[in-house]
């Protein structure tokens, strides 16, 4: 495979494609709402009407508006249809030759779509994730070619550094710096790992990227491998995402067939192979050292750092671990240049971020927005607000993040601003809560999650989460006293400061952030005053405030 052949595949594919493409979402969300039948009925309708020479029905990845699925979009006219049923599906094809389409027509100019800026998701919902030719026709693998032939590994690292890209898995560590560190490590054997263990409940960005555009990840990993001097990559995916696994497997096979993975890629001296590793349902495996243990076939227990994986990771070799979304940005940065990418976003947070906008909100689904957009713009303009009622809080960062109250909706969405208000970017879950949601119960919900997911290796996390859960339970059942509340707060700081890995260090965040902004809800749940049940609550409180 060389440059001319790559362009030829793209040309042949463009030539093959029909003038009108009817895109039908076949991702997990729409599938659950019967989109495969919708697609089949449309394909039959095209055949029945003899439109095969100018219309093609294409199963594509996620279009983002998951709450209104199954979605169908007719391009190039940009006609969007929502909640299409197998019964109404054929009318969409009828509308192409004089008939009338019966499904609800969506508005592609609604802020939900128009305020988005798509870099990672540029192909999602536009191309068939199971056909490499479709990806190549959209300019796929050109970034890899450019990296191999126009840039040295050091140039690639430099490009990523100058782009200002930061890790999208939550931590926000500068990607270029990480690549440079691994690149400088001595040793012949290095690895690239793609972290697709998207465990945060309420987040499904990575699933969507893997399902909608698997080749984008393969290309990003190969570029990373070239930059740091690795010839072997692993994609670690949750077992809960069977469709993503299946599409990745297919994509790897196709890329191998075209010589875009394997030995001597693009006839260069660069070899790179990718294997898939499937998780088995452990949240802690999102932590990098735990993930490495899991790939090695062991229990997913984290270990103390340093040494960081960059120095000693998979089988004690220098290892680069990046999140799915981080790797999905790479090809675009190489193609578009670091300066272009660095021009998007804020001073310290560059580029775009995908969020899973869910919970009590009118328009729910996936959005990709430039960094620096405010929460209010996302929730009220794009999301259309809460269906009936008011926004009470927005939860970001999953079990490691916090709840941001409605009064702080003007906070810009970037790594540092979210940290300042006691939450974090996290992987991109954004759950909107309304007045019906009890914040103490939300805190208990997350603590129950952490209690179940702690690996048990370090004491603060193992016992701390259990104690915190029981205190929160006591509160919800109105049996807690002021002393319990104080103990809970002290325990939060202790777990935060003394745990071994990120899971424990961030587990108290949902409690601390709700305590900070919704203290009155905790107070209201405290045990009824002493004079009603003969128990001296007041003295308990005094005692606890005196004791250290």
């Amino acid at each position: 495979m060389d440059w001319a052949e790559l362009l030829e595949i793209a040309e042949t594919e463009k030539h093959r494609q029909r003038g009108i493409r009817v895109h039908c979402c076949t991702s997990t969300g729409c599938r659950a709402a019967n989109s495969l039948d919708v697609m089949r009925n449309m394909q039959n309708a095209v055949e029945d009407a003899n439109l095969g020479d100018r219309v093609e029905v294409v199963g594509v990845g996620c279009m983002g508006f998951c709450g209104r699925g199954p979605l169908v979009q007719v391009d190039p006219e940009e006609l969007l249809y929502e909640e299409v049923t197998p019964e109404t599906a054929s009318s969409i094809i009828d509308a192409l030759h004089g008939g009338e389409a019966t499904p609800i027509q969506g508005d592609v100019h609604h802020p939900f779509f128009s305020r988005q800026m798509k870099i990672v998701r540029q192909h999602s919902g536009k191309l068939d994730p199971e056909r490499i030719e479709d990806y190549i026709a959209a300019g796929g693998y050109q970034g890899l070619y450019k990296a191999l032939y126009d840039l040295t590994p050091a140039d690639v690292v430099d490009e990523i550094t100058r782009s200002g890209l930061r890790g999208r898995g939550g931590g926000g560590y500068p990607t270029g710096l990480k690549w440079a560190t691994v690149g400088k490590m001595p040793g012949d054997q290095k690895y690239v790992i793609c972290n697709g263990d998207e465990g945060d409940p309420g987040a499904f960005m990575d699933r969507s990227v893997l399902e909608s555009d698997p080749h984008l990840i393969l290309e990003g990993m190969a570029i990373a491998g070239y930059a740091i001097g690795a010839n072997h990559g692993y994609i670690y995916v949750r077992a809960e995402y069977p469709l993503a696994i299946q599409r990745l497997q297919k994509a790897i096979q196709q890329a191998k067939k075209y010589g875009l993975l394997g030995s001597q890629i693009f006839d260069s001296a660069f070899d790179f192979k990718i294997d898939i590793r499937i998780g088995a349902g452990a949240f802690v495996c999102g932590e990098e050292t735990a993930l490495i243990h899991s790939i090695e076939g062991a229990r997913g227990n984290p270990r103390p750092r340093p040494p960081y994986p960059a120095e000693s990771g998979l089988w004690h070799c220098p290892t680069l671990i990046n999140n799915v979304e981080t790797l999905a940005n790479i090809s675009a940065i190489i193609k578009g240049g670091a300066d272009w990418y660095a021009g998007i976003g804020t001073e310290t947070s560059k580029g775009t971020k995908i969020f899973a906008l869910t919970g009590k909100i009118r328009n729910n689904g996936l959005i990709e927005v430039p960094m620096g957009i405010t929460l209010r713009e996302i929730v009220e303009e794009m999301g259309g607000g809460v269906p009936d009622g008011m926004v009470k809080a927005v939860q970001t960062g999953g079990p490691s993040g916090g709840c941001i109250p409605a009064t702080l909706l003007d906070t810009p969405v970037d790594y540092d601003s979210l940290m300042k208000v006691g939450s974090m970017m996290g992987s991109g879950g954004m759950v909107v809560m309304d007045h019906e949601t009890s914040m103490v119960e939300v805190a208990r919900f997350y603590m129950e999650f952490c209690r179940g997911e702690t690996c048990g290796k370090c004491v603060p996390c193992r016992t701390g989460t259990v104690q915190l859960y029981s205190l929160l339970n006591k509160l919800v059942n109105r049996q807690a006293t002021q002393a319990d509340l104080d103990t809970m707060e002290a325990l939060c700081y202790m777990v935060k400061e003394t745990s071994l890995c990120g899971l424990g260090m961030t587990a108290p965040n949902p409690v601390l952030s709700t305590l900070r902004y919704f203290k009155e809800e905790y107070d209201a749940l405290l045990q009824t005053p002493a004079y009603l049940n003969g128990h001296s609550v007041q003295s308990d409180a005094i005692a606890s405030s005196v004791s250290p």
């Binding site: 452990a282 090695e296 229990r299 999650f449």
Partner: protein
């Protein structure tokens, strides 16, 4: 050699009355494990993949299966058992004929996933994470299925359904029980 225990293990215990005993068609399923181990050159890092294959073949992981895998990959049984019990998706007990997995991720929780669980617990008379006495239905909770756009989501026998109301979930369970 591991192959001797392949032959003997499926017949080691007498078949226990019910037709769906895991022992009934033993050999072929152990073969699947063999193929996976061989494909991975019996390397110990293939353990999780082999456990996935074993669980898919048998429905759950019983001691014989774990011992068999430990021998094949030349690992101590403690290591295999440790891994099998660490990960939530591996089950050491058989599931019911039907499984119902309710998503309890944040989005589903906020949209009433908890009410679905409560309604099903009441209907089936069991707690989440267990199986009815007649081995018909297993009720489980998932951390997050990543189907947050269609919350609350429930997986009935492997197929995912969105925007599930408690009544609809109960209707589905009753349909299983009456069939």
């Amino acid at each position: 050699m591991p192959s001797t225990s392949v032959q003997s293990a499926p017949n080691a215990k007498p078949v226990q009355g019910t037709s769906k005993s895991p022992k009934a068609e033993g050999d072929r399923r152990f073969k699947k494990i063999d193929i996976t181990m061989k494909r991975n050159q019996y390397r110990s890092d293939a353990l999780i993949e082999v456990l996935h294959v074993a669980q898919e073949a048998f429905g759950y992981l019983e001691e014989d299966t774990l011992t068999y895998i430990a021998r094949g990959l030349k690992l101590p049984l403690s290591r295999v058992y440790g891994v099998a019990t660490f990960y939530h998706l591996f089950s050491l007990k058989p599931n019911g004929a039907h499984t119902c997995v309710v998503c309890m991720g944040t989005a589903c929780y906020v949209k009433g996933g908890g009410k679905v669980v409560a309604a099903l617990e009441k209907e089936l008379g069991i707690e989440v994470g267990s199986t009815t006495e007649d081995d018909q239905v297993s009720l489980m909770a998932a951390r997050c299925l990543g189907a947050c756009g269609i919350a609350p989501a429930v997986v009935f026998d492997g197929s995912i359904a969105g925007k599930v109301e408690p009544e609809a979930a109960i209707a589905k369970i009753r349909a299983w029980q009456s069939s």
